[in-house]
Each structure stands twice: as C-alpha cells, then as structure tokens.
Assembly symmetry: C2
Homo-oligomer: 214 residues x 2
C-alpha cells in the first residue's frame, strides 16, 4: 500500500470528511493491531451480511480464522469479495450544539478477496494469530493437535486496499457559539485490561503469566 491519497473513484478513498483519511501502512497497521474484532461484509444472493470475527494483522496481511463448517469462512476461502472494518472509539466530543457533537475514533476499512493459508504455514501462523489477541508466546500452550489444525480455517486478506480514518481533538463549534454557557470538551474512553481471573478448574500453584499481570 502507498501513503498517497487514492484518486477519485478508488474505493479506498475516504469520501466523507476526506481530511480524516490516512493511507500509510504504519497508521493502518497500528489501528488493526489495537483491534481484536473486525466486521466482515459479504454478499449472499444480493443480501449483505455484517459479521464480527477475531482478526490479527501479521506483516501485510489481515488474518481471520474460523470453523471449516462456517458459511463465512467457506466464502472467504473461495475468494469472495469482502470488506472488513474496525473502529476504536477514543472519546465522546461534546460541542455547544448537538450538530457539532462527534466522537474521536480510529477506523480502518479494507477491501479484497481472501486466500486460504497454505497447509505448511498454518500451525505457525495460528500461534501468531493467538499471540496477537492474547500477548503470550506458544510456551504457554500445549502443542496444536492435528485434528485442531484440520478443523480450523485460516485465511488472509492483503492489506493493499486498506485506508484509515481518524478524528482527534476537541469540538469544532461555530464561531458564534463559543460564548454560549454550555460546556464543551472531550470525554475520553479507554479500554483497560483487568487482573487475570483464574479458571475455576485451574490446577493449584499456577500463577498467571507475568505478561498478563500488568
């Protein structure tokens, strides 16, 4: 992908609030890496579907995994055209007018056709997929079983048709509203990781990995 603004008519190009569009790989990667879920749009008989699913960005690909019996994953493996979006909300933006209220957010919209990950790469990439969601290396798991690898579909979409759209900063009110007696500003939203809660069936004497105990 290139950092240039795509030409008019390119589906990557941000159309509404175009000044919020960003097209460089670093920005797109950072937003995808901060996201756990992507919303996949696909079409069956002219009907659009939007389905949330776990995502992991590795190199220049977005990986999705699911059951081999899933309609979505059959479509993905068949290379059907899809679009995937993520959106992280960083704050509520309260203006003097309801019209200028907004949100601060980081989003990515991408288009493409997925491909199944070759058999030889699947075991390794499934570990990396899990590691993207739960920051723990493979030493914290027993090895994959052959039947698990067989039951799991792993597909990937190239990131060459991805764009980011972001809003940051405070409200932008009309100049004539600035002296109104209404509060204006940002209410920040943050996602925090709580203390790890051990499974009820955890064997005695196993502490949570240090990576989770932040």
């Amino acid at each position: 992908m290139t950092a240039d603004i795509p030409p008019r008519g390119d589906r990557r190009r941000v159309r509404q609030m175009a000044e919020r569009g960003q097209y460089d790989a670093d920005t797109v990667h950072a937003i995808l890496d901060a996201s756990l879920i992507g919303h996949v749009a696909f079409v069956v008989d002219g009907q659009p579907f939007s389905i949330p699913t776990a995502i992991a960005r590795i190199d220049d690909w977005l990986y999705l995994h699911g059951s081999r019996s899933s309609r979505l994953f059959k479509l993905l493996a068949d290379g059907a055209p899809v679009s995937v979006s993520v959106c992280l909300v960083d704050g509520l933006v309260k203006a003097r007018s309801a019209f200028h209220c907004s949100m601060n957010y980081r989003s990515v919209v991408m288009f493409g056709c997925a491909e199944p990950v070759p058999e030889a790469e699947r075991a390794e990439l499934l570990y990396r997929f899990t590691e993207r969601l739960i920051p723990l290396s493979r030493e914290h798991y027993r090895a994959h079983l052959a039947k698990e690898l067989k039951a799991t579909m792993l597909v990937r979409l190239p990131l060459d048709e991805a764009s980011a759209k972001l809003r940051t900063g405070g409200p932008v009110d009309d100049a004539e509203d600035l002296e109104l007696p209404h509060w204006a500003g940002v209410i920040p939203l943050t996602t925090v990781m709580g203390a790890p809660e051990a499974s009820a069936d955890l064997a005695a004497g196993i502490a949570p990995p240090a990576e989770l105990a932040r």
Copy 2:
C-alpha cells in the same frame, strides 16, 4: 421481534456456536445501548462495503445519522438492504491449548431496510440520538438550526430481524488438558470514561455537567 429461536434458513438464526444465540428484545437492546458504533454492510455493484458509523437504539429502531451527501446515507434512505453488526469484547479467554482460546463478547447482527425519519420527528429524534451517545439532555445544547436539520440525514432500521450472540465464562479445555502446567482463565476488558477535558476555547467558569463527572 420474538425470543424464539428462528427456524433453519432464517437469516436471523445464529449458525456457528448456535448455543450462543439469543433472540429476546431485552438482550438485543442492552447490547445495542452499550454500543456507540455499528458496522453497516451494504452492496454496490456486487461489491460489499463495511462502514462504521454512530448508532442509537430508540424504542424498536436502530437510528443512524450522517450527511445528506453521503453515499451510505443515500443508499439507506433509498431502502437498500443492509446488515449492521456491533461487538463488545468483555474479556480474553486463555485456555491451555491455543485452539480453545476465545473471547467473551456481546454482539448483535441485524438485517433490514432503513427508512428516512419523517421531517416532523427529526429535530426531537436527533436530540435523543445525541443523548444516547453523550448522556446529556438537550438543555446542554443550543437549539438545532434549520440548516443543520436540512444537512443531516436521519434514518432508522426496524429491530425485527436482529439477533444477539454472546460468550461468557472461563475457558473450556479438553478434559485431558486440565492438569497441564499452563495458566488458564479470563483477562477482563472494560471501557472506562475518563475525566472530562474542557475545550481549549471554553469560556471561563463553565464546569463539566455533573452527568459526565462520574
């Protein structure tokens, strides 16, 4: 909408992990009310698009608003078929095997065709829309201007084709893995509202509304 499990072939019916499906209005409403953003899937010339946008559930409708010049909102106002999904992640579920790792989540997937909100109801519903996102009554804003009402498209989708899908609880490992020396449990994720940050151009002496100072 009814709380019954839809029949096979009904697009509302949760297909993967069907036991996680829930169909009652209270569950669907609660998840939508906890969500700020919905991902709208629509189709243009056979190509699916997934676009994040602000949502507000009011009564048995999902409201979306945007610019009158937006392609998405033109399609919505024209009654094009869409699907909207939301997904809130409540925790990372770490199992002894990577295969059984999961997430705790609350999601809604819905289908339908939107309709524009009648002119006479728009001003009132735009306030209620804003209030769903920022918990402040209309006394905290100056009145809508006629040109703002004109520039804003407000559409709504009925909730009669919505379903919820949820996962809660700890990891479900294979029985033979329970004694492995790997930690298993849940890492909770929570979104928290920070202290309100006043706009740099806020007139002196205006405190943030008590509703935001929680």
